[in-house]
């Protein structure tokens, strides 16, 4: 019986690979012929055809066709964006020190932000497990950055921590500190909510079993809660990291360009956060040049996305939040 199952699984994987290869071949053919429109039609139709071949019934076929239409909206930008870049320009931009600085900054500052979000968000998530007066208010505060326009978030960070704000000694404009604070503001909800979900998924009786057999709250956290929640907390941290990498609005306002130490040359350089650099290039040099920078940033984002997929064991990141 297991052999049969494995065989079926292998068959399914092969069919899926074949489907993917077919999509890429048809896509390439359509683009080469200068008719990407044809591929836009082919995608939902092929999805419906697969449903039809699988004898899934009319309802499933219609669902696959409609879902396929949305998938064009998601897949076409990626496919056409990647395929329409000028390799020469990409190579030129890949050699540009400004781009190096931006990509380094795009990994480094968000990583700091993610560490802060996770390090402080995990205790907060622990507190949010028990009901207390004002918990709803704290929950709203946690989710607030998700609904605030990010440029406004940047302004709020400046008003709070910039000149005349809470910490007079702190420079926000044009510093890594400002950039990281802006990133924490927009990315912390992801780390906090992932940690909350992780703790919620642990049955309360496990914590009780630890307490009643002698473990104090800290020992219970270290020996039971943390090991069971660790994976999701890490995933939340990586999501916060990815969110900070992609942040434009708040960073553009707080730290349009920052002075930072670039370890690969040992110099202090002026750099821009990669999304800001993409926008800057778009305004000053045009679409092809910004596309090339964008492709490089897309590579960094894709790498982080793949890390998340790997950590979640192939499950969709959407189910996490």
């Amino acid at each position: 019986m297991p052999v049969v199952t494995t065989g079926r699984r292998g068959l399914r994987a092969a069919a899926f690979t074949a489907f993917l290869v077919l999509q890429l071949v048809v896509f390439w053919a359509c683009v080469a012929a200068g008719r990407p429109t044809l591929y836009a039609l082919f995608m939902p139709l092929s999805a419906a055809a697969v449903a039809l071949l699988g004898r899934r019934g009319a309802f499933q076929v219609i669902a696959a066709a409609l879902g396929g239409v949305l998938l064009i909206g998601l897949a076409l930008p990626v496919l056409l964006f990647v395929s329409r870049q000028d390799p020469g320009l990409v190579a030129q931009k890949a050699a540009d020190p400004d781009v190096h600085h931006a990509l380094y900054l795009a990994v480094y500052a968000p990583l700091l932000a993610a560490l802060v979000s996770t390090g402080l968000g995990t205790p907060l998530a622990l507190c949010l497990r028990q009901p207390f007066p004002g918990r709803a208010l704290v929950e709203s505060l946690v989710d607030l950055p998700l609904v605030i326009p990010h440029s406004v978030a940047g302004l709020m960070v400046l008003f709070a921590f910039g000149k005349g704000g809470a910490f007079p000694g702190m420079t926000m404009l044009g510093t890594i500190t400002g950039m990281v604070i802006a990133m924490v503001f927009v990315s912390a909800p992801y780390a906090i909510n992932a940690a909350r979900q992780a703790f919620d998924a642990i049955p309360p009786r496990l914590e009780r079993a630890a307490r009643v057999h002698g473990a104090r709250p800290l020992a219970t956290f270290v020996r039971v809660l943390l090991p069971l929640a660790r994976r999701h907390i890490v995933i939340g941290g990586v999501l916060a990291w990815a969110r900070a990498v992609s942040e434009f609005g708040a960073v553009a306002i707080v730290s349009y360009s920052v002075r930072m130490f670039y370890p690969f040359t040992g110099q202090t350089v002026t750099a821009q956060h990669a999304p800001v650099l993409v926008y800057n290039t778009f305004i000053s040099e045009g679409l092809p040049q910004s596309g090339a920078v964008g492709l490089l940033l897309l590579g960094v984002s894709a790498a982080i996305f793949l890390i998340v997929r790997w950590l979640t064991g192939g499950r969709s990141t959407g189910s996490l939040l």
């Binding site: 496990l206 009780r208 002698g214």
Partner: protein
């Protein structure tokens, strides 16, 4: 009593009516107290309150220490949860050793694992074990801390029959000399494992005493019914309630089925279920349904007589 728990608390949950718990129970050192009651009678909440998981307006004494204000980790308890609650990320042995160094327990873990028959599983992880094995590990974890008071929440309820019978047998020996409170809804478990019995209903204590005293003289019809007594209202008895009492309680095995005209009351056989080597015969006495345990099975629909010895009867003054 060396351990006393007097719990008064009101539990509220969204979407449910508030639940009042008001129970006082006690036991002597080394005794097993069984708290018996139907599902939803507050047995688990009682144990959780004793363990310190809920705020309540009562007190808990463990071997004459007032632990009411102590955190759960300081109370010196062992706890066996109904659904095991083993740590899934720790091996069997790590689970059992979990509390040892907090309690400075000198317990021989190897011997304990062997005694519970799970020594061969020590490197396995709980999710790979059967229910019976998990419950044995949970028991080992609770005993490993040398608990001053062991709390067991329906330790056999989620096990299949062979696992249940095997563990019930072992549990008797394991509880020897351990001060323990065991909650269950199973009267056979109560009789087999308990020294002292407390019957609870809707969060309130109905009767308490030694197991024999409660089983022999149920305080009211609810307890009698829950302990498996056949109940005959005085109205169906030819002599009526002799002393003005309302209900006669008899153990099903104390009633004999005889010929139609030879019994103290007449009855009609409703149905018969085989129970081991005997039969559980459900009868109607007028419109009152009672169960009798008999060696021979009469035919459904047959008219029979029932008789018993007055010494086996226990009279209650009120109907439920």
């Amino acid at each position: 009593m060396s351990c006393v728990a007097s719990i008064r608390a009101r539990f509220t949950a969204p979407g449910a009516a508030p639940f009042e718990l008001e129970v006082e129970v006690g036991l002597e050192r080394g005794e097993t107290l069984v708290v018996l009651g139907p599902s939803g009678s507050g047995k688990t909440l009682l144990l959780e309150s004793i363990a310190g998981f809920h705020a309540h307006g009562g007190y808990v004494h463990v071997h004459d220490d007032d632990v009411t204000r102590w955190p759960p980790d300081a109370r010196g308890l062992g706890y066996v949860f109904q659904d095991y609650a083993l740590f899934p990320h720790l091996t069997v042995e790590e689970n059992v050793r979990f509390g040892i160094h907090y309690r400075h327990s000198d317990v021989d873990v190897d011997a304990l694992l062997r005694r519970l028959g799970v020594a061969h599983l020590r490197r396995r992880y709980p999710p790979t074990l059967s229910g019976g094995e998990q419950q044995r590990v949970a028991l080992a974890r609770a005993l490993a801390v040398r608990p001053r008071l062991l709390l067991l929440d329906e330790p056999l309820a989620s096990l299949d029959r062979p696992a249940k019978e095997a563990l019930r047998h072992d549990l008797r020996a394991l509880l020897e000399g351990v001060s323990a409170i065991l909650v269950t809804h199973d009267r056979d478990e109560a009789r087999m494992l308990g020294d002292r019995l407390a019957v609870v209903r809707d969060g309130h204590l109905v009767q308490t005493g030694t197991v024999d005293a409660v089983f022999d003289t149920p305080a009211d019809e609810f307890v009698a019914a829950f302990l498996g007594y056949a109940r005959l209202p005085a109205t169906v008895l030819p002599a009526g309630g002799s002393n003005g009492a309302a209900v006669l309680c008899l153990r099903p095995e104390a009633i004999s089925i005889v010929a139609d005209d030879a019994g103290r009351v007449a009855a009609r056989v409703h149905h018969v279920v085989r129970e081991g080597a005997q039969y559980r015969v459900s009868l109607d006495v007028d419109d009152v349904a009672i169960d009798v345990v008999a060696a021979q099975a009469p035919a459904p629909g047959e008219r029979v007589g029932l008789t018993w010895s007055d010494a086996d009867g226990h009279w209650l003054n009120e109907r439920a």
